[in-house]
C-alpha cells in the first residue's frame, strides 16, 4: 500500500510543480507586453530559490520535531536527512516521508510565486528574490508548521485545512496586500489603462493550473484512497461552478461575459475548495464554487475604490477565495466524507468547527500581513524594492533582464 500511496504523492508533486509555469502564463498574459518576461521570471525563479531553501532547511522547520508549543519544527530534517523514522506526527501507513516533503516543496514554490501577481511592472528583480527568500522562512515556514504539521498549534486544536486555504491562499493574498502597500502603485495607475496584452496566454495558464490543482488537492490526501477521490471531484466541480458564478455576475452587472472572467472564476472556485476538498460532499463543492466565483468577482473591484494596486488581484482572488473556503468549511464539513474530519454547522456539528476555521483565518491574515509588511519595509529601506521611474516606463523585461518577449521581424501580414 505504501508503494501506491508514494506513487500518487509523487505524481501529485509533479502536477503541483507544473502549476507554477501555468501561473506564469496566467500572469504573463495579464500584464503589458513590456513586462511579460519579468513577471514570468518571478514565477520561475521561485522554482529555483524556494526549492533549494526548502531542501536545505525550510522543510525541516516545517516538518521537523516540534520545538515547543507547536510554533516551529527543529533542524532534525535539514538537508532532507533523518527521514528514515518517518515524519513526526504522521502515521507510518502513508506515503514515503521523502515523497511527502517533496510534494510539500511544490506548495512553498507556488505560494511564493503567487505574490508576484501583485508586484508586477515595478519590482526590482534582485529585491524580489531577496524578498521570497526572507518571506519563505519568516512567513511561510511558521504558518505551514502550524497547519500542515500534525504537531502545529493550529492543527493540534482541530483546525481543518485540507490543502492550504490558510497556508497557501489567505497567506499569499494578504502577503501580497502588505508588499504592494510598501511598494506603491504602478506609475499611472489607475488613470492609465493597463489592459492585459494577451488573454489567450492567460487562458492557457488557467488550463494548466486547473490540471495541476488535481494534484494539489487530491494529492493532499497523501495516499490513494477514498478521500483523494472526493478531493479530485470536488476540485473539478468547484472550478466549474466558480467559472459559471463569475460569468453570471458579469452578465448581470456589465452585459458581457468575458473570457478572462471565466478563467478567473475557475481559479476562484479552486481556491475556495482548497481547504475543503477532502472534507465536503460534491454538492457542497458546487455551492462553495459558485459563491467564490460571485464574491471574488465583486472583490476584485474593491481595489479601484480603496486605491491599492494589487496588479493581478492576488488578494481579490486568493485572499478572499481562501477566506470563503475556510468559512464555508465550517458550515459544510462532514465526517461522512472523511472520518478524520469533523462536522460543520449545517451537518450537525454546531459552531465548534466554524469558530476554529474563522480563528485560523484571522490568525493567518494578521500574521501574514504584519510579518510580510515588516520584511518588505526592511528590504525597501536597505536595497530598495522598486525600479527607477525611467526603468518602469521602459518596462522590466528590458531593464531587469535585457530581453524582449516579442521580437517580430518585419511587418505582420496586412489584410488577408
Amino acid at each position: 500500500m505504501q508503494a501506491i500511496n508514494t506513487t500518487w504523492v509523487l505524481v501529485s508533486a509533479a502536477l503541483v510543480l507544473f502549476m507554477t509555469p501555468g501561473l506564469a502564463l496566467f500572469y504573463g498574459g495579464m500584464v503589458r507586453s513590456k513586462n511579460v518576461l519579468a513577471v514570468m521570471m518571478n514565477n520561475f525563479v521561485a522554482m529555483g530559490v524556494v526549492s533549494v531553501l526548502w531542501a536545505l532547511a525550510a522543510c525541516s522547520l516545517v516538518f521537523g520535531h516540534d520545538l515547543g508549543h507547536g510554533l516551529l519544527g527543529n533542524l532534525s530534517l535539514a538537508g532532507l536527512g533523518g527521514l528514515g523514522h518517518g515524519l513526526p506526527g504522521f502515521g507510518r501507513s502513508g506515503a514515503s516521508p521523502l515523497a511527502i516533503v517533496t510534494f510539500q516543496m511544490m506548495f512553498a514554490v507556488i505560494t511564493a510565486a503567487l505574490i508576484s501577481g501583485g508586484t508586477t511592472d515595478r519590482i526590482k528583480f534582485p529585491a524580489f528574490v531577496l524578498f521570497i527568500a526572507c518571506w519563505l522562512f519568516l512567513v511561510y515556514v511558521p504558518l505551514a508548521h502550524w497547519v500542515f504539521s500534525p504537531d502545529g498549534w493550529l492543527a493540534h486544536r482541530g483546525v481543518l485545512d485540507f490543502a492550504g486555504g490558510t497556508v497557501v491562499e489567505i497567506n499569499s493574498g494578504f502577503s501580497t496586500l502588505a508588499i504592494v502597500l510598501v511598494l506603491g502603485r504602478r506609475r499611472g495607475w489607475p488613470s492609465e489603462g493597463m489592459a492585459p496584452h494577451s488573454v489567450p496566454l492567460s487562458l492557457l495558464g488557467v488550463g494548466i493550473l486547473w490540471f495541476g490543482w488535481f494534484g494539489f488537492n487530491a494529492g493532499s490526501a497523501l495516499g490513494m484512497n477514498g478521500v483523494a477521490v472526493y478531493a479530485f471531484i470536488n476540485t473539478a466541480l468547484a472550478a466549474a461552478a466558480g467559472l459559471l458564478g463569475w460569468l453570471c455576475f458579469e452578465r448581470v452587472r456589465e452585459d458581457y461575459p468575458t473570457t478572462l472572467g471565466a478563467a478567473s472564476g475557475a481559479v476562484a472556485g479552486m481556491v475556495a475548495i482548497t481547504p475543503c476538498a477532502g472534507f465536503v460532499t460534491p454538492m457542497a463543492s458546487l455551492v462553495i464554487g459558485v459563491l467564490a466565483g460571485v464574491i471574488c468577482a465583486m472583490a476584485v473591484r474593491v481595489k479601484f475604490r480603496l486605491r491599492y494596486d494589487d496588479s493581478l488581484d492576488v488578494l481579490g482572488v486568493h485572499g478572499v477565495g481562501g477566506l470563503i473556503g475556510m468559512v464555508l468549511l465550517g458550515l459544510f464539513a462532514t465526517r461522512s466524507v472523511n472520518r478524520a474530519g469533523a462536522n460543520g454547522l449545517f451537518t450537525g456539528g454546531g459552531f465548534h468547527l466554524l469558530s476554529l476555521e474563522v480563528m485560523a483565518a484571522v490568525v493567518t491574515v494578521a500574521f501574514s500581513f504584519t510579518v510580510t509588511w515588516l520584511i518588505a519595509k526592511a528590504i525597501d529601506l536597505t536595497v530598495g524594492l522598486r525600479v527607477s521611474p525611467e526603468d518602469e516606463s521602459r518596462g522590466l523585461d528590458l531593464t531587469q533582464h535585457a530581453e524582449s518577449a516579442y521580437s517580430i521581424g518585419g511587418m505582420g501580414r496586412i489584410g488577408n
Binding site: 495579464m30 489607475p190 489603462g193 489592459a195 492585459p196 488573454v199 458579469e250 452587472r253 456589465e254 458581457y256 468575458t258 478572462l260 472572467g261 478567473s264 468577482a297 476584485v300 473591484r301 479601484f304 488581484d313 511587418m411 505582420g412 496586412i414 489584410g415 488577408n416
Partner: protein
C-alpha cells in the same frame, strides 16, 4: 501626377485591391494605420475595469497615378470601400512633384 491617399476599413482592402487590378493599376502601397474620425474607439472590460481604446484600426493605401486617371481610380476606391456606415474612411488627392523609379532612374510619368 497625383498621389491618392485612401484610409479604408481593413476588411474592405481586398475589394479595393481587386477593383484597382481590374483598372490595370500597377502598384499600391499599404500600411496599417490607426485613428479616429466620427467613428470613435471602443471600450474593453477586464475584470470589471473598463479601458477606452481611442483609435480604430484602418488601412492606409497610397497610389501614385497619372493626372488623367485620378477620377476613375478615386471612384473605384470609393465604390469598393464604401459600406454606408460611419468609419468608411477618407480619400485625399495631392499633387506629386516628381517620381523616380530606382531600378532604371526613369523620372516623371515614365516612372509610373
Amino acid at each position: 501626377m497625383k498621389l491618392i491617399v485612401a484610409i479604408v476599413k481593413p476588411f474592405r482592402l481586398d475589394a479595393v485591391k481587386g477593383r484597382l487590378k481590374e483598372l490595370d493599376v500597377h502598384g499600391m502601397t499599404v500600411t496599417e494605420a490607426q485613428g479616429f474620425g466620427r467613428q470613435h474607439g471602443h471600450t474593453e472590460v477586464y475584470r470589471g475595469a473598463e479601458y477606452q481604446v481611442d483609435f480604430v484600426p484602418k488601412i492606409r493605401i497610397e497610389l501614385a497615378v497619372d493626372d488623367s486617371r485620378v477620377e476613375e481610380i478615386v471612384d473605384a476606391v470609393v465604390d469598393a470601400a464604401r459600406t454606408g456606415s460611419i468609419g468608411d474612411g477618407k480619400i485625399w488627392v495631392q499633387p506629386l512633384d516628381s517620381l523616380i523609379r530606382i531600378r532604371t532612374g526613369e523620372r516623371g510619368p515614365d516612372a509610373l
